[in-house]
Structures are given as structure tokens and as C-alpha cells.
Symmetry: C2
Subunit: 338 residues, 2 copies
């Protein structure tokens, strides 16, 4: 891959280790958005943040925190992987709007409003019915805009997603999902949603999680590239990126935590089923971060220019975070410079 | 009032003191459902429970806890006010279904699924739109049924209320609200809801909070009695009781906590307005628990029999709690003895 590119993966949640960060380096990554919370409440989120500080201390040769979008360039210059914190749910703020600013100051740059289920803010994609943004949700969106916390609707239901895009003054993202046009999984996004993400100058990060792909673990790289080409034409080449949803070396217990949290007494299988309860098999062409160059090569063969490909591989993420992930972002937008 | 009656107030939240409990005695009360949480999370609910234990210790001549419905008779026999714990929101269980059983064991006999806003379980009456019970909400209802925690929908929106009644195997209550037919406040209940409460053998507790009454603080006792007579005819005399919503000696800060919790950066005025932000004036005929006998007398003049009046003043509450507030309640209902 072109060393001038800034390569960003828009979502990973692995059992973090030196080996995994070394694989990121080998795969040419400069920056990764990592999940720090699925259902973790405020106190538990602080535990996750503390664990990350210990990693930054013990593996300072490999990684560094990205508290602000400008830190991405610093990480690249230092030859380290920049780590962006994100939450896949609003559980870190519990019921307190004032925790939005506190969490942002602690480095939480991206937060989903919901994770599959109804939250205090909005509706998740696994509920039967979606009544859109709640009263609390509307206030939280304004506060996220104010402090530069990016709104991610990856696991949200359709009406809530469209209302969030409409209500937010900053771009809204889908960090990791694919177009339903490509594969009609519950977690993937309709043309209506991807068009709205494009119109609000957000970003769609393509997921490499097999449940989000046509033919699951047998999805071909060729089919994946077809999806990227189709989406680039529909959304614009500046509105797409990668959000691999790579979950390396995680035990079954972590999958069950994602799916069940503390809300269910009976096992919920999420995108799986009782007969297929475990992690999906990996794609043959993507099993860890060392496989990103292969994706870039395959996309290059589809005729993307070097500039466009650099933007797809990470430049669009840097641009999005610069516009939406800094405290000044909202004022910037209000003044008409976006 | 007839000393054989068991007189129960289905909702109070006052700045508890010896004086207030003495007023309860003077007014002939035997038992009061007290609110221990509006927005309190699990840890904060434990603080409230601890405060109650200290009251039980220091005022053991006046009050005793009602952990199970059978404790009401014990309290009456001892000449003490029985205190039933209830939460006006599901915040005490946070995101954890297993906290339902733990809270019940700590004495929480009644819990609302929502307080005005969307919760993780269902929708509150102040949201624009109501998508009914959530996935978590359905599981919590089953768990509340199992452990004998009574479902209260006083502050819930209509669809959620009807779905809870339909989904629950135990009777669902509205501890403190009035029919919209009498006064169309957002918090009052439609004929559809009160008919469903009657059909599920629940109970409606009449509120004496002026915002829930025709003409507010100027509502006459005569008008109140009209409402009781109308509702007794519609729901059945065994389906009604009192839930005064009496809030004595509470400062403005408590009203603001009820209305705003931690979810709003701007002041939400609830049933009030920016020009009417405080506690409403009291009714001339009901300002504290010493005024219950006057209500009983006025209702007696409307021709209720002594038996019916005793049931309205508390017997119906004892019956409801016996059916829905004990761990065996669900099995009892399943076996067809209700």
C-alpha cells in the first residue's frame, strides 16, 4: 500500500495483545477505532479505559491514544498505531447527560446510540418497532455535537437512524455495516439509510464480519469488491471506508456478553442461532490485520485511483473525524465551512 | 372511619418525619405505598433502603416494613403504619434482569416500568411516540411476575400500558392517576386503559395531586366524589382505591429531580410550566393524611355500602397486593384460583 496513505480500520474488538498490534503494523494500519464498551456502565467503562492506559504504558513502542483527530497524524509520524476509543452503546453515560462531556474528555470519540435493543436514547435494530429518538436522545445528540463525540448508528433501527441524521448538526456515521442491497442482514443498511448518511456527509465503514456478507464466511473478495464499487457509485467515493468488525481471539463468553449483556435470562443468539451459536468462521482472504493490503490490491484492480483508494483505506475516516470528532466541529459546521 | 377497615394509601412521597407518620395515624391509615426511587440507580436505591431501615429503627413505635402482603395485617395488629416500598421507574434494576429478584428480596414490592420518558423496558407518557414493550421489558415483566413484584404503569404511555397488561400474568396496576374522562391530563388514563386494568383485575388508585384533577387546586370534594362514582360504575367497585400522590414538605429541588433526573440540561417543567414551575397549591379538603376520614365521609354520602367503602379505602389494595405482590402469585393465577 502507498505509504503516504493514512490507513484506518473503523472498528475492531479483539483480545488485545502485542501480537495483534504487530499484525496491525504488518498490515499497514495507522489507526484503529476500538470498542471499549458494549454494555459496560459508567464504572465498568472506566475499568476498560484503565486497561487501555496500561496497554499504552506497556506497549508504547506500538500504540498511542488518539484523543483528538489531530493525534492520528502524530501516531503516523511516530510509526505507532493510533487507538480511537468508541462505545457500541450509550451504556457509558447511563442516565446522565453530563457524562457525555466527561466521557469525551476521557477520549471517547465515537458512541453508538443503541446496541441492537432499545436504549434510553433510541431504538436498536433487533426490536420489533422503532419510535425514533427519545427526549433524552435528542438532548444527548446536541451534547455529542457540542463536545465533538461522533454519533454511530451501526446497530440502530431505521427510523432512529434517520431521525438522528436529521437531528444532528454533525455528520452521523455507520462505522461497521454493509448495504442491505448486497446482503439483507438485519444489521445491514437500507438504501434510504445509506443515502441519508451520504447526504449528511457521514461515512459507511464496510464490515468484514461474515454475518454481514453475502454467503457468510464463503463470501469472495470479488463479491466484496463488487459491493464497494456499487456503494462508491451510490454514496460517493468520499463517503466510504472500512470498519472490519474484526474480533480476534475472543472467547465465546465475549460473544455472549455482546448478545445478552445483563438483559436476558435466556440465551439470545444475535445474528447466530441455537445451532450456530459461536463465532463465524473467518473469510479466507481476511483473518487479521495483515490482510488489509490484499483488499487494497483487489480494489485497485477495480480501477479506483490511488487518491480515491487512499481515501477509502483511511483518508475518508480522517476527514470525517476531523469534521465531527473535535469539540469545535459543530461551530465549524454552523459557520458554513463544511 | 370503621376501625375494621384496613386503610391504604397507594402512593406517597413526602419528606418523611415523625410528624408525618403521626398524621397518618391520626388519619386512620394502616399502610402506605411509599416511593423509594424516581431516577435512583441501583446503588442510590440501596441508599434509600438504608435510610428507611434507619427510620424503622428510630421510629419503631410508628412504622414497620411490609416486605410481603401478609405484613399489612401484622402492621395493623401492632397499631403501626405498614410501609410498602415502590419505585416509580425501573432505574433500580439498571440494565440487569437479575436485579429484579434481588430488589424484591430487599422489599421492593411495586415498580413502574417507566417514569414519563422512554426506559429500557417501555415508553413513558411524555414521549411523542410509543413503540410498546422492549425485548428487555418483556423479560422483566415475566421476572416481576415470577418474584411477585407488582407492575405499575402510572407514568407510562398508552400502548406500553396495554401491552404490559396483555403480557403480564399478574394484574397490572395504576397506583396514582385519574381517568382522562374526568380530567384530560397527559398523566391520566383513557377509558381503554382503565377498562383493561379492570379486565386484568388490577387497581386504579385515585390521585389527589392537583395537576391530575379538574380545576387543579380548586377541584371540589364533590367533583372528586363524582369521579369515584363514575369510575366505580365503569371499572367495578373492587377495582378502585386511593393513591394520593401526597408530597409533603418536599423542596423545589425534589420536584426538579422528579422532572429532570439527570437526562436534561435544560429545565423540564413536567406537568407545570416555566410560569408555574413549583409545587401546586394543596386542595382545601386534602393537605395531609389527616384528611382521609373526610374523603371517606363524602363517599359514604354517595351511597357506597360500608363494605364497599372499606374496600375503596384500602381493602382492594390488600386484595390486589395479596394476588400480585407475593412470589407465589403467578403460580396461584396459573392454577386458576384468581
Amino acid at each position: 500500500m502507498n505509504p503516504d496513505w493514512t490507513v484506518v480500520d473503523g472498528l475492531q474488538y479483539s483480545a488485545w495483545s502485542r501480537e495483534i498490534f504487530e499484525q496491525m503494523h504488518e498490515g499497514g494500519l495507522d489507526c484503529v477505532h476500538v470498542t471499549i464498551a458494549y454494555h459496560e456502565n459508567t464504572r465498568e467503562t472506566l475499568i476498560r479505559l484503565g486497561e487501555w492506559n496500561q496497554r499504552f504504558e506497556s506497549m508504547s513502542d506500538l500504540i498511542r491514544p488518539v484523543f483528538n483527530p489531530s493525534d492520528i497524524a502524530v501516531a503516523k509520524a511516530e510509526g505507532k498505531i493510533g487507538i480511537i476509543f468508541g462505545a457500541q452503546n450509550c451504556s457509558p453515560i447511563e442516565d446522565d447527560i453530563r457524562l457525555v462531556e466527561l466521557m469525551r474528555r476521557l477520549g471517547l470519540m465515537i458512541m453508538q446510540l443503541t446496541y441492537n435493543n432499545q436504549s434510553l436514547l433510541a431504538c436498536g435494530c433487533y426490536e420489533d418497532d422503532d419510535s425514533g429518538l427519545t427526549r433524552f436522545g435528542k438532548q444527548v445528540i446536541k451534547e455529542m455535537n457540542r463536545v465533538g463525540m461522533v454519533i454511530d448508528m451501526s446497530h440502530s433501527a431505521e427510523r432512529s437512524t434517520l431521525e438522528a441524521i436529521d437531528y444532528s448538526e454533525s455528520p452521523v456515521i455507520v462505522s461497521h455495516a454493509n448495504p442491505s442491497h448486497f446482503h439483507p442482514a438485519l444489521r445491514n443498511k437500507s438504501n434510504t439509510v445509506i443515502d441519508a448518511i451520504a447526504a449528511n456527509e457521514g461515512i459507511l465503514g464496510f464490515s468484514l464480519y461474515p454475518f454481514h456478507l453475502k454467503n457468510g464466511p464463503q463470501c469472495s473478495l470479488d463479491d466484496f469488491c463488487d459491493m464497494v464499487v456499487w456503494t462508491a457509485e451510490r454514496m460517493g467515493v468520499e463517503r466510504i471506508g472500512l470498519g472490519s468488525d474484526l474480533c480476534q481471539n475472543q472467547p465465546q463468553s465475549v460473544l455472549e456478553w455482546m448478545r445478552n449483556g445483563r438483559w436476558s435470562k435466556t440465551m439470545d443468539y444475535g445474528e447466530g442461532s441455537s445451532g450456530n451459536a459461536g463465532w463465524p468462521d473467518s473469510l479466507s482472504w481476511f483473518s487479521d490485520s495483515r490482510d488489509f493490503p490484499g483488499i487494497a490490491s483487489a480494489l485497485a484492480n477495480r480501477g479506483f485511483s490511488d487518491t480515491d483508494l487512499g481515501n477509502i483505506m483511511g483518508g475518508n475516516w480522517v476527514d470525517l473525524l476531523t469534521r465531527a470528532g473535535a469539540p469545535a466541529a459543530r461551530d465549524h459546521l454552523v459557520h458554513g465551512n463544511s
